[in-house]
């Protein structure tokens, strides 16, 4: 019996419910110091004078470090090396790190950091990306403030628009979205007398952290070991930011030769760590009256903040998703990631796609209405199916379950377009896709390692380079290992992810862990299995081809033996039962100037259907129910897949209806706390109906493809379309607050 496809309980669940899971802040080390960061109070300026004399005298303060104390390079490498670890002469956003204070306890460190006196000569900041783009005088990045420009070009847009019967043209805006992981950013550095250093903390990408530490301390990779602690939510927020924290603890640990811990205060965390890029979108699309999407022209501008961090790759994903999951032969999309004097924005579930998909799917409904066709039929005429070509010129050979997801949400909801409904109630749909993995934008990192170790008592320990951040990777990979080895699931354990165990396996992002680490583990397991098979064949006196391994039982030649006895026999004969696994993705291709290429190896697909009731007096949108169908290839664990759908969908609901993070006139985040930045609570939760669709991916373990990000991506436009269906008010600016709907109702 296979455990793949079963709803087995989460591997670390029983420890977490007892509060026994160790998060970074739960660790204590002898002689440990606590760090706090001295930050820029201004959005742009030149540092004139730093005076630490007063805070150095505060009892318990052990030291204050600036860029002058960095033994290696003053840089936190991410994609482009434009971000300093500690500011030298200029500061470029409110919260930019200038110095690190370490003290005997956390309160003292924080108090001292807050009292540091820094004199900065203010320079005029660029806070609006539309002004920053090609600004004549102020150059924050290059001479145009553009981190990245991508152009997607197909066919002849001008000619195609002339042939369209209907054209819809709009501007859309989407705001910051804060990850709001419940565990704040947390990190510890432990120096060793042999000249090595260990980093333990909350993170998605231990290999990014290792690179940052080797850079600032000038150490070789074999002297830096990074171990992931239990991580209390990531969603992209712990992709690149932990590299900064790791530097902030590693430097004092290295200099003072003591362990150092740093936990961000919640307000600090929300002020200074990455968020979803705000976006400004101009979108023009046209169709013929028989419902064929003929032409798309768009300009997509994202606000990257003060340093480039991940903006270039965020823009890549956003651009590939810029026309949605449709066939369209005439496309002209220009995308720009722009520098401003605000907190650097970065990775957040969906990675540049939710913004543009809000525009895409709002446009689709407006086109359908103008043609006089129902929105489902209009989508059906244009969606991608096997054999079709994407906007980037990629031919889809397999695993395209979009139409089935659309059929499923309709079927489960019992709704059909045009069906009568009560006053104020509306239904809205969105169909989307998601390029799985890093794709051509992160081609060089598209590899993973794994190690599997079978012990003499049958217990199995495996290591991978991707991380468990709540998504359920440990459980899913354990299921894969169990099936590949034919061993019972309870024999399998995973080591905490540790850079000293496996080769650099890239980041835990882009919904890539199941497919990448799953395939690497499969590679390792096949090697071990071949040894076990040979041994079992000699024990059963039959050929290896006749042998079946099943949850610890081995049968062949009409006989049955225990897998444990085969393992023991291997050990007695000194045969190796450990192996390394390695996996690289099939080739992808991309051209920034034409936007053409095989952008991703495979795509996940989804349809969302939202049912709302709008209060016509107050403009309040009551989300009654949402049906979310996702083609995941194969659900290795349907319960965990549903968990991803439910959790991601609710984050999408927050993005659609309530999460409204803005900056003030100085460029500071206006609402950096849970009382002012409102995320969905238990009482805001609508009924979510998760639907799993499985169109297997031939290159994935057991047919699986990643999809963890996708549940968030199409929720906002489905709700916007439902609001329009309910009260004929079209909201083009997220979130859909009662004020905006009320204003829309008033203006009608």
């Amino acid at each position: 019996m296979s455990v793949v496809g079963k709803r087995v309980a989460r591997a670390e669940g029983s420890e977490r419910v007892k509060g026994a899971g160790l998060f970074a802040d739960d660790y204590k080390y002898f002689g440990m110091l606590h760090a706090a960061v001295v930050r820029s109070p201004l959005a742009r300026g030149e540092i004139r004078k730093i005076d630490f004399k007063t805070i150095a005298k505060i009892p318990g303060v052990a030291g204050i470090l600036t860029y002058k104390d960095i033994p290696g390079r003053n840089c936190v490498p991410i994609v482009i090396d434009d971000q300093s670890f500690l500011a030298e002469r200029y500061v470029n956003y409110i919260g930019e790190p200038i110095a690190i204070v370490v003290a005997e306890n956390r309160q003292t460190a924080r108090l001292a950091a807050a009292q540091a006196k820094i004199s900065i000569e203010e320079l005029p900041p660029l806070l609006n990306p539309l002004e920053a783009l090609n600004h004549p005088k102020i150059h924050l990045f290059g001479n145009d403030n553009i981190y990245k420009h991508i152009h997607i070009h197909r066919g002849d847009v001008k000619k195609a628009f002339a042939d369209c019967d209907v054209i819809i043209e709009n501007e859309y805006h989407t705001p910051y979205q804060e990850h709001a992981y419940i565990e704040p950013q947390s990190m510890i550095a432990i120096p060793f007398p042999d000249g090595s250093i260990e980093i333990r903390g909350s993170m998605q990408c231990p290999f990014y952290v290792r690179k940052a530490i080797t850079t600032i301390l000038g150490l070789p990779e074999n002297k830096v070991r990074v171990i992931q602690c239990a991580t209390g939510g990531g969603f992209g927020g712990k992709e690149d930011v932990p590299s900064l924290l790791a530097c902030q603890v590693a430097l004092p640990a290295w200099i003072f030769k003591r362990p150092v811990k740093l936990i961000y205060d919640r307000t600090e965390d929300m002020m200074v760590t990455s968020k979803r890029h705000p976006a400004y979108i101009k979108y023009k699309s046209g169709a013929t009256k028989d419902g064929i999407l003929r032409a798309v022209e768009a300009e997509y501008i994202i606000d990257g903040g003060a340093y480039s961090t991940l903006s270039a790759v965020v823009l890549f994903r956003g651009s590939v998703h810029a026309i949605g999951p449709y066939k369209c032969e005439n496309v002209d999309v220009h995308s720009y990631a722009v520098a401003t004097n605000k907190v650097p924005t970065g990775a957040f579930r969906g990675f540049g796609s939710p913004q543009i998909l809000f525009a895409v799917e709002s446009q689709m409904d407006q086109l359908a209405e103008k043609i006089g066709m129902d929105p489902v039929m209009f989508r059906k005429k244009n969606i991608l199916r096997v054999g079709d070509t994407t906007v980037t010129g990629q031919k889809l050979e397999y695993s395209v379950g979009l139409e089935e997801t659309l059929d499923k949400v309709i079927e489960k909801s019992g709704w059909t377009p045009g069906k009568s409904k009560e006053d104020g109630v509306g239904y809205g749909i969105s169909t989307i896709y998601y390029g799985v993995g890093l794709g051509a934008g992160g081609k060089s990192m598209a590899r993973t390692g794994a190690r599997v170790l079978v012990h003499a008592d049958g217990s199995v320990l495996f290591s991978v380079g991707t991380t468990e951040i709540g998504q359920g990777m440990t459980t899913v990979l354990s299921q894969i290992v169990a099936d590949e080895l034919g061993a019972p699931l309870d024999w399998i354990s995973m080591m905490p992810t540790d850079t000293s165990r496996v080769p650099d396996s890239g980041p835990t992002v882009a919904s890539r862990s199941t497919t990448m680490s799953g395939n690497a583990l499969k590679d390792a397991c096949i090697k071990i299995k071949s040894v076990l098979l040979e041994e079992a064949a000699s024990m059963l006196d039959c050929s290896t081809g006749d042998i079946i391994f099943d949850e610890g039982i081995v049968t062949g030649g009409g006989k049955t033996i225990k897998l444990l006895d085969v393992i023991k026999s291997c050990f007695a004969k000194r045969l190796p039962l450990s192996a390394e696994g390695w996996y690289i993705t099939p080739s992808t291709s991309w051209d920034d100037n034409t936007g053409q290429g095989d952008a991703y190896v495979v795509y996940a697909w989804a349809s969302n259907l939202a049912k709302v009731k709008v209060d016509k007096e107050t403009g309040e949108v009551n989300l009654l129910k949402i049906w979310a169908a996702h083609d995941v290839g194969k659900a290795i664990n349907p319960a965990l897949a549903e968990g991803q759908i439910e959790g991601g969908t609710l984050q999408g609901v927050g993005y659609a209806l309530m999460e409204d993070m803005t900056t003030n006139a100085d460029g500071a985040i206006r609402n950096p706390e849970f009382s002012t930045y409102i995320i969905p609570t238990a009482s805001d939760q609508p009924e979510i109906v998760p639907i799993i669709v499985e169109h297997p991916f031939p290159g994935g373990p057991f047919g699986a493809k990643g999809f963890g990000e996708q549940p968030l991506m199409g929720v906002a436009p489905a709700i916007a379309n439902a609001v329009y269906d309910a009260v004929k008010v079209r909201i083009k600016d997220l979130p859909i607050t009662p004020e905006k709907v009320w204003q829309g109702l008033k203006n009608k």
């Binding site: 709001a180 951040i469 706390e673 939760q685």
Partner: protein, 159 residues
């Protein structure tokens, strides 16, 4: 001052400096790290403990305030058979993702089930609305509370 209180069923007497928060006493000095700090402002509920059976944010309570009272943390839930059902239900229903909000969530759920053994879905939503979870979408957490309620009632009936 020296404070005396009942912690997870056991008597504790300890010097509590003025101004020390309950969460710091628990985590830093008593090594009960199951209580998590998410915001330090009483906004996220991750640090929820039960004070005389009522859920409170331990980041908003001074250690001195628990003098003479009864405190239960997630570590104490383990020794309470009735409330262990809540933990088991969370595992069974797949309610844990990252697990950082889980201890606080379980204590709020346990307090609810003590006061209201058979809550409706709406009552569950209201009772847990002070505990933020960013991973799960709450759906499977509500399922777990219903499952725990069922388990506890079944056990009581079989006695």
């Amino acid at each position: 001052m020296i404070i005396k209180f009942k912690l997870n069923g056991k008597n504790v007497a300890i010097e509590a400096p003025g101004g020390e928060r309950l969460i710091d006493l628990l985590r830093e000095r008593l090594n009960l790290v199951g209580t998590k700090e998410g915001c330090g402002k009483g906004e996220c509920g991750a640090c929820t403990v039960l004070l005389d059976n009522k859920p409170v944010c331990s980041c908003l309570i001074l250690a001195a305030q628990v003098n003479g009272r009864n405190v239960m943390t997630i570590e104490g839930v383990e020794s309470d058979a009735r409330l262990r059902a809540v933990q088991e239900a969370f595992v069974e229903a797949g309610s844990v993702q990252c697990g950082f909000c889980t201890p606080g969530m379980i204590l709020s759920a346990a307090a609810l089930l003590r006061a209201n053994p058979k809550p409706s879905r709406d009552e569950i939503k209201r009772a847990l609305s002070g505990n933020l979870c960013r991973c799960t979408g709450y759906e499977k957490i509500f399922d777990a509370v219903e499952l725990a309620s069922h388990k506890i009632m079944k056990k009581a009936a079989s006695k």
